[in-house]
Symmetry: C2
Subunit: 222 residues, 2 copies
Amino acid sequence: MSKDGSISASVIKRLPRYYRFLGELQKEGLERISSRELSERMKLTASQIRQDLNCFGGFGQQGYGYHVDELRMEIGKILGVDKHFKTILIGAGNLGKAIATHINFETRGCNLIGIFDINPKLTGEVVGNIPIRHTNDIESFCEANSPVVAVLCIPKANTQAIADQLVNLGLKAFWNFSHYDLSIDYENIVVENVHLGDSLLTLTYATNIITSTDTDNSEEIE
Amino acid sequence: MSKDGSISASVIKRLPRYYRFLGELQKEGLERISSRELSERMKLTASQIRQDLNCFGGFGQQGYGYHVDELRMEIGKILGVDKHFKTILIGAGNLGKAIATHINFETRGCNLIGIFDINPKLTGEVVGNIPIRHTNDIESFCEANSPVVAVLCIPKANTQAIADQLVNLGLKAFWNFSHYDLSIDYENIVVENVHLGDSLLTLTYATNIITSTDTDNSEEIE
């Protein structure tokens, strides 16, 4: 059972996915699962799973498998799903609104408490029970509420300036959807960049490869 | 200059990011850039960049650097940005609408030509110049238009059934935003899963680590 950060980065990277799959098993009412069954669902090898989950102590028992609830709870604790990090979202355009309403922040350790946009026409509009505030109010809001996490759904040109402002206001973590590569130019600040455009380009590349192959083989296929 | 798929997977993975950065340089009006300058912008080592870009032939010249336009064009060709893959989007909820309006498909090799939703109340509503059609019309639409790429913004429970239907209708590539891990159970089908919830959990974990560290050191910081 490791609580001192000694879990390897590659295991950490897979934890959200384990957590998600274990949640599905819970919903199905499963109490336990073998590493073999879990490996089939997750398309990982059973030995990979055993190796990963060994980091978290004695949840896998010979002949019993993993106790779904306990294992999920332990992984959740490591991820920090019980943390209630106060979270604000900047940029209430289509994407910002979709993120605010589509993502369940609460079950992922974050409480969305404020939404901001520079467009005064949006001020007061309610998105997922939260009224949109003008970006001019970010400073007073942060001083009063001390949010930790910021979701950035703003145009590229504004990202660095807003991030600088938010760091000065005490924010520690950025979930960045802007096209700007927010880099960790600050100490003790964490950034998770989500580049949806890059993701689509990766798919386009793979599609290009697979459809070119299809054409090459077209005469062999019925 | 490699056109036979001999570029390594790790280089491929970085190509969308190179393409994006080179696009920014173009917008700034830069004609050429040294590997050192590019490395500073991209937070990669200059030798990493030289090694990556050597795959694409003689664009880097000693004492000159990289020709921005040519290099970007070459990378774009490899990625397939000129392919115009016909693309449909299924699920016009908040997220689907945001993806349809926020993402520039055209510059990434995909032409969004159809949007579908199971909710008849949405039928006819226009999103980014495209009228929403009912999911009942997917089959006839695909037979008439032969789309290649599908963007899935639908609930988990429906994902596998819709994906099966679309594969039977000839679609080859899936950009999957549902919470369901669409796996490649099919031959010659490519999938890019986007798990925004996992991304947020990764940030939560990092935030948890960094804020715990902050607390430990709180007495040392002014």
